[in-house]
Symmetry: C2
Subunit: 432 residues, 2 copies
């Protein structure tokens, strides 16, 4: 068993780096704003290196700033079994999304260390850079580069969404350099091979809580694509330009967003716009340019593709037929991720471990199984990892299914249970 007290203390103490948005009276009742590669991310990364060194682990930083922490095993000629997640957060993020995965991985290494437990092969922890895609709008970008899914240069050149006051938007590479985490080792599965990749994450949905369950064994993730849509019209005077003479980019963009929601309903998928910017931004001047994002998701690759095509169709129609003198619409793909099936062997290791951990909660179980299989609604670094090594995930209960919000919450009991499932799974996988 992991040391649960230490797990929770470590998690909350690292949240001092980047805590934000208090929502309750207790000092841990805040959210996070630790955007990838900002100063707080730098601080928590240095902290992580110290912890790794205290366990006599080797730390490697690759060209994407991914941090690989390896605890040697008996036979170090074979690749390590890795536990991985991310330490970056949303701008209004919580204390568990990503963070629980890394801190639980560290806790597993600490537990092995405390007991002097020798694994057959090496075992380790990876902190993936910019998983959220919140600062640099390419989600799980660094595990994608590792997996050979995205060229290094494309990822390096990705520009931040919200520039710091007084600065040009920085690229991911510039920020890696600035905080001293631009490593020299190639970000690649061939340079840093893994025997397997296990990840704990909060569910971020309501199924476990609603079902009174303790653990999710994740068998795969739905497909999702991100786009930036640029709508170009004409700036002109709000008081003197007749409606019929307008090329109003903001009105057209609003119509498109409403239409995209209809498409999501039609295909039983999800479509979300989280960012929208209008230029020049004056009360009495129509916007000449609006840029907005689309996050489109579906469990089926084919249905996702159809839903996005429907959006393209209706946006074109709005631009050409329902915007008075017309606007132009341009799509840029930010990221595309097919649906993923995780590895049977990794899933089996997690199932066995979940059986054992859930036995602890027998009293509340009344004969029911306290874990279930789940498909992830969110994308995760494990999805990229799974392209190059056996992978699977453990989901922890999330209060009201709420995530990407400051009061995102996973109880200590549930954090600890999921960490114990992880410990049991990696030790089993190593043995096998």
């Amino acid at each position: 068993r992991v040391n649960g007290t230490r797990l929770m203390e470590t998690l909350h103490s690292t949240c001092e780096f980047g805590k934000a948005h208090p929502w309750g009276a207790h000092e841990t009742e805040t959210g996070m704003a630790r955007l990838a590669l900002n100063d707080d991310d730098k601080r928590v990364r240095h902290w992580l290196i110290e912890q790794a060194e205290a366990l006599s682990c080797r730390v490697t930083v690759d060209q994407m700033g991914n941090m690989f922490i390896i605890r040697p095993g008996v036979d170090n000629s074979i690749p390590p079994i890795m536990m991985g997640s991310h330490l970056d957060t949303q701008p209004t993020g919580g204390r568990y999304d990503g963070i629980l995965g890394v801190i639980a991985g560290l806790e597993v290494l600490r537990t092995l260390h405390d007991h002097g437990y020798q694994t057959k092969g090496p075992m380790g922890l990876v902190n993936w850079t910019n998983e959220e895609g919140a600062r640099f709008p390419m989600v799980t970008v660094s595990s994608a580069v590792w997996a050979g899914e995205i060229p290094l240069e494309t990822a390096w050149n990705c520009k931040e969404v919200t520039p710091t006051a007084g600065q040009e938007p920085q690229t991911l590479k510039q920020e890696l350099e600035r905080i001293g985490f631009l490593g020299e080792v190639p970000a690649s599965y061939s340079a840093q091979p893994m025997a397997a990749h296990f990840e704990i994450h909060i569910e971020q949905g309501p199924i476990l809580e609603d079902g009174g369950l303790k653990v999710g064994v994740v068998t795969g993730a739905q497909a999702y694509n991100w786009y930036e849509i640029e709508v170009k019209g004409r700036d002109s005077h709000a008081g003197t330009t007749p409606l019929s003479a307008r090329r109003d980019a903001l009105l057209a963009a609003s119509k498109m967003i409403v239409e995209s929601n209809k498409a999501a309903k039609e295909f039983s998928g999800l479509v979300t716009t989280g960012i929208m910017r209008a230029e020049p931004g004056s009360v009495n001047t129509m916007a000449h340019t609006v840029r907005f994002t689309l996050d489109a998701r579906h469990p089926s690759d084919e249905q996702l593709s159809k839903m996005v095509s429907r959006c393209r169709e209706v946006f074109k129609k709005v631009a050409e037929e329902d915007s008075e003198r017309g606007v132009e619409v341009k799509w840029t793909t930010l990221t595309e991720n097919v649906a993923v099936q995780f590895d049977k062997g990794c899933i089996a290791a997690i199932e066995e471990s979940a059986d054992e951990v859930c036995a602890r909660f027998e009293e509340t179980a009344i004969g029911r199984k306290l874990w279930t299989h789940l498909t992830s609604g969110a994308g995760h670094d494990s999805c990229n990892a799974s392209k190059r090594c056996p992978s699977a995930m453990v989901f922890a209960v999330t209060r009201e299914g709420m995530s990407h919000t400051p009061d995102e919450y996973c109880s200590p009991e549930d954090c600890i249970a999921s960490a114990d499932v992880l410990l049991g799974a990696v030790v089993r996988y190593d043995k096998a």
Copy 2:
């Protein structure tokens, strides 16, 4: 007649302060970004003081930074006839909106000076602060304070729409202080009375050009109100929050904007959203807060009020019945301006002057009258002035009716014609 060459040279040379957005090859083919009280506005204000002093005029700066430039007449116990407009611009503004009015006023004073022409009463020029409402979202705010329509403190506390990089949003008063234009004289019609207020402005609409006309005699302006709408929902994960569980502030705001356009059509008015901001602004997180502006206009006060009520109704409906788990919507009034009728005496002076100036273009007229009465679609400082002194306006031809855009254009011939109409009007009004 004014000195047309000097008028155009002065206009373009002052546009060096704040020029932006080139759209053609010639050096004058740019727009402007001289936002109220920025460094370029400070420079052009200092330039204006120099010009006034060169004409031996007295310059008074009031508590709103309004600049009153007075050329003495024979009897200086009576208030001055003023020509007024504004030197601030939109962020993507042109070279004529406001600027033509101030520079033409100066040209009239210069012409009187050149000829040693003694007016009966004093005659002057006023540069009104932040007419556009583009930087500080209260339109024609400083003439409104002068007219006693808005309390000084309310105007002073108005915060800028787009803060400078790295700064808190500044208030109008802070910026007046910073650029050294916070005067001590009360901004009030009693401290700075006017015998009349005349203003040249570009039409900003297509009627003069489409009719092959040279001059507009403006008899009034339509009513218009500005609001900021705040929509509050809940931030949550774009990949794991079912559509039915959402409180998506951005989707709701988009629906409201689409509905406001329907209301504008229904009431044959105008409704425009020029600013929209979503927080926190992340691709995979729903916005918890969206703020957008509404600029609503109608020639009839009653119809404007009905159109805005319709917007309130439909926004409430979107918030309560068409936003899944619901959002909250809050209205803040930024400015409300009733429809205005200008003064018959001022209008008559302009008509007579327009008759004389248009006679110049007899060849193209083929018997037609080359000026017409117009109602202004835009608001102007003259609307506020008209509450406290006789006022009227001259409109100049605007290419394709386009304004609040960098390639806004009024030909030298049309600029000069309108300046001559102004000269004739103020001299006539002084005589009478």
